[in-house]
């Protein structure tokens, strides 16, 4: 009996308690030096443009930000004069498949879709991650310090997604963002109905999709009730009742219903998104973000009212029917809904795009302002920093340059909204992880090593 309780405790901690769960993050930042960034132009990720400001980093965190900061540090201080250079928070991508669709994109590394059943809430994308994917280092050189890895969109419910720091490690746990919540990947529309419909099984239609989600949530609600009723029993009562059988799939879905796992929903069409909002209301969970959402602009007010982010491309379209109604103003419209209460995110879903999220934001910003909005660059910077941090549930520790947050920082050689801008230095938790002025800092994966010339790395 005691053994059975132990199992249940593990089950519960697995599902409801982040700390001490299996596969927990083992990433611990190295001791970071004291860093003093002087006279920089800063987009702080909170919507402010701070020209000629100083920024102090201590113990891996942002210590102070201000004009003409006076520092009284006794230890060694790494000081950078950043006149005419720009500083932003580390860039965050809320939609990546790095590690699960690694490069080279060969079938043995195609680990992003468990497309064997339309509901696979039991799988975790992190268990597919190949730590030696050469794409991580390329993203870092584009200023990306944090990324969220999702399962693909073949399934109605594809499994858990995980947030990573862009830290080189040969374990998955060594890269995981400490204490970041999991996400649940859900997918609307063409992909699931194509994958399963072509096999003559459900779902083969959008109505089949909707039924599929609802069936899964009915099961999850039952499971959650059973668990809760067992947990609320007295110790003596527990001695005579069997605990519910542990179910990995239900663990994940119950985690969503308990608000501990954030729903990230791939969904293109306006009316489908509204159906998904109704399903979320029916079962009492919240949708954190709609991803890809090419038609988000058609329901931007509704998204703002429901506090749902739109994680969007600047201009992708036409590769399928549900992506036909693209407007380049999509991101700006979502951002500006209800007088600026919207949450817009520029995401990549692409190993090239992730390296240039600043350029994608620049396109979306220009299109929005051309259409008559008055959006500042400082606000647009939130689309690739604070807003994705919020959608990943890590906005308290990263995503903007405010005192006490992780010192995840990018120094750009010029205004990052230009195509000519490059991430010059990238800090994660106050450690200089990439320095364009010292290319030996460039992380080299095991894959890259000696693969073309034995004495060189791939990118040398």
């Amino acid at each position: 009996m005691r053994y059975r309780n132990l199992i249940l405790t593990i089950a519960l901690s697995f599902s409801f308690i982040t700390i001490g769960a299996p596969f927990d993050s083992t990433y611990a930042p190295q001791n970071s030096p004291i860093i003093f960034l002087k006279n920089a132009n800063i987009y702080d990720g909170e919507g402010n443009e701070l020209l000629g400001y100083d920024l102090l980093v201590k113990n891996g965190q942002i210590q102070a930000i201000g004009k003409n900061l006076v520092i009284n540090e006794t230890g060694k201080v790494l000081s950078y004069d950043l006149t005419n250079q720009w500083v932003t928070p580390g860039i965050i991508d809320i939609h990546s498949h790095m590690g699960v669709y690694s490069a080279p994109g060969v079938k043995t590394s195609s680990d992003g879709n468990e497309s064997t059943s339309p509901v696979t809430a039991d799988v975790w994308a992190e268990h597919s991650v190949w730590t030696q994917d050469p794409q991580f280092s390329l993203a870092l050189q584009g200023g990306v310090t944090t990324f969220h890895v999702l399962p693909g969109s073949a399934n109605l419910i594809g499994g858990r997604g995980t947030t990573f720091k862009n830290i080189q490690s040969n374990t998955i746990q060594g890269m995981k963002f400490p204490k970041a919540p999991h996400s649940l990947k859900m997918a609307c529309g063409e992909n699931p109905k194509r994958v399963y419909g072509s096999r003559k099984r459900a779902p083969s239609t959008r109505m089949g999709n909707a039924a599929g989600y609802r069936k899964a949530w009915i099961d999850a609600a039952e499971y959650k009730d059973e668990l809760n009723s067992y947990v609320s029993k007295s110790a003596s009562a527990k001695e005579i009742v069997n605990p519910p059988t542990r179910d990995l799939e239900m663990d994940t879905l119950a985690g969503v219903l308990n608000g501990e796992i954030l729903v990230h929903n791939h969904c293109y069409r306006a009316e489908e998104m509204v159906v998904m909002i109704d399903i979320a209301n029916e079962f009492g969970y919240k949708i954190t973000a709609f991803h890809h959402a090419v038609e988000a602009y058609k329901i931007a007010d509704l998204l703002a009212d429901n506090n749902i982010c739109g994680a969007l491309w600047a201009d992708w379209w036409g590769f399928k029917h549900e992506a036909y109604d693209m407007v380049q103003e999509n991101i700006a419209i979502v951002d500006q809904a209800r007088g600026g209460k919207g949450c817009a995110i520029v995401h990549s879903d692409d190993a090239i795009g992730i390296q240039h999220l600043n350029q994608e934001a620049a396109k979306a910003l220009a299109a929005g302002n051309r259409a008559g909005f008055d959006i500042s660059k400082a606000r647009a910077m939130k689309w690739i920093t604070l807003n994705p941090a919020q959608a990943a549930g890590i906005e308290d520790v990263t995503g903007s340059l405010v005192k006490g947050k992780d010192a995840d920082i990018v120094i750009w050689n010029m205004d990052p909204f230009s195509v000519y801008a490059k991430a010059q230095k990238v800090f994660i938790d106050g450690n200089l992880i990439f320095d364009r002025d010292n290319l030996s800092t460039k992380p080299v994966s095991d894959f890259d090593l000696g693969i073309i010339q034995p004495n060189l790395s791939r990118t040398e």
Partner: protein, 406 residues
């Protein structure tokens, strides 16, 4: 560059007579083939009549003070007009059922495709549309289209052939062998009726038809541009040998491993089409991929044209060119790679640069055209000002009005 003169049938059916003459004043002109200069451009009868400091009165005058003026850009590898929605077979006409090298996409071109106004409004005034790659080393023929959306299609039919060498389920060695065999078949067709050539064992084996032999004849004997997608250094080297051996008008696309064979490639005078933003080692053929590729090739004297990995948004070759410049490519080389170089490489007559006597395909830019956030303020195709409305702008207008702006 020592290019074989291109024999293609140009099928222009343009009617300029009703068009107003236009004067673009004080533009910052990046002509595509010269250093930038401030000047005026006078457009008459669809063509660039004169360039310089002009004292001419025109029906329509545009003040381009402080604006960059470029040729309309030319996208060399697109599906414009032949694929509307990638995942819907019924909207795509880029795959053949029984033709091989002779497969022509020309008559599939839809002047009403939504991709035409979209790419035009973003600075692309003409494009080459190509068939899908097949398992064969030579796939089919691409055609050149002026993106004016006119039902009387203008451009150039079957003006290039597409091929590929590289990673596949079979062996690239066999593919290279097959490629040579097919070129030899084309050589054979020079002095022999096509009806005889299709009786050759290789033609019989692959069930080639008259159209296929005719296409091979053009590539093997008439200098029709042959664009081969290849990335691995060893493949590039073999293709250089084949180009020299058969005196082909070869262009290589991809070439992500080019840094390893840069000297041989430069010596071959083969132009290349690359995606400057693709630094992903997507396959074991592309391990050298990097953002510095454009600069490396261009600085070695190799003619560089641009491709993008995104469908539908072929105008993103501008963003690619911008990134190429960010990573060391000369700005003027990048502009040429979007315009003049495409025209030169593919023998597109009287297009691709702001030159007296050329068709007036011109873009006046809001700001730097290599900044992806920049768009054209004006587009002219054959001297006619384009309407920059798109289906996308219509959707935007419909919904932006409905927004609660409180």
């Amino acid at each position: 560059m020592n290019r074989i003169h291109l024999i293609t049938v140009f099928i222009f059916s343009l009617s300029f007579t009703l068009n107003a003459d236009i004067l673009i004043k004080n533009g910052n002109i990046y002509s595509g083939d010269s250093a930038p200069f401030i000047g005026d451009i006078y457009i008459k009868d669809g063509k660039i009549h004169s360039i310089g400091s002009l004292n001419i009165k025109a029906t329509k005058e545009i003040d381009a003070q402080g604006k960059i003026v470029t040729p309309g850009f030319i996208a060399p590898m697109t599906s414009i007009g032949i694929v509307e929605i990638n995942s819907l077979d019924v909207t795509r006409d880029d795959e053949s059922d029984y033709l091989n090298m002779g497969f022509s996409i020309f008559r599939a071109y839809n002047p009403n495709s939504t991709l035409i106004p979209w790419n035009r409004a973003n600075g692309i005034t003409s494009a080459i549309s190509i068939p899908q790659q097949t398992s064969m080393p030579l796939a089919g023929m691409g055609s050149y289209f002026i993106l004016d959306g006119n039902m009387n299609i203008s451009g150039s039919k079957d003006m290039m052939m597409l091929g590929r060498i590289g990673a596949s389920s079979g062996s690239r060695s066999e593919d290279l062998d097959l490629l040579e065999n097919l070129i030899n078949l084309g050589k054979l067709a020079k002095n022999r009726p096509y009806e005889k050539v299709i009786e050759s064992p290789i033609a019989v084996f692959f069930e080639l038809l008259i159209q296929d032999i005719e296409a091979l004849d053009k590539v093997a004997n008439e200098g029709l541009p042959l664009v081969i997608k290849a990335n691995r250094a060893s493949d590039i080297k073999h293709l250089i040998d084949i180009k020299n051996k058969y005196k082909l008008n070869m262009i290589l696309a991809g070439v992500e491993d080019a840094p390893i064979v840069i000297d041989e490639l430069a010596a071959s005078e083969i132009p290349v089409i690359i995606n400057p933003m693709d630094n992903i080692p997507d396959s074991f053929d592309e391990l050298s991929s990097s953002l510095e590729l454009s600069a490396l090739l261009s600085n070695a004297g190799i003619t560089v044209l641009f491709d993008t990995s995104r469908s539908h948004n072929y105008h993103l070759i501008r963003q690619g060119a911008g990134n190429a410049v960010a990573y060391g490519m000369d700005y003027l080389d990048a502009i040429a790679g979007l315009s003049t170089n495409v025209a030169n490489v593919f023998g597109l007559k009287d297009r691709g640069s702001i030159t007296k006597g050329h068709y007036a395909d011109i873009a006046i830019w809001e700001s730097d055209p290599l900044e992806p956030a920049s768009i054209p303020s004006y587009i002219f195709i054959n001297g006619i000002e384009s309407d920059l409305t798109t289906r996308s702008s219509r959707l935007k207008d419909r919904y932006i009005k409905k927004l609660d702006k409180k």
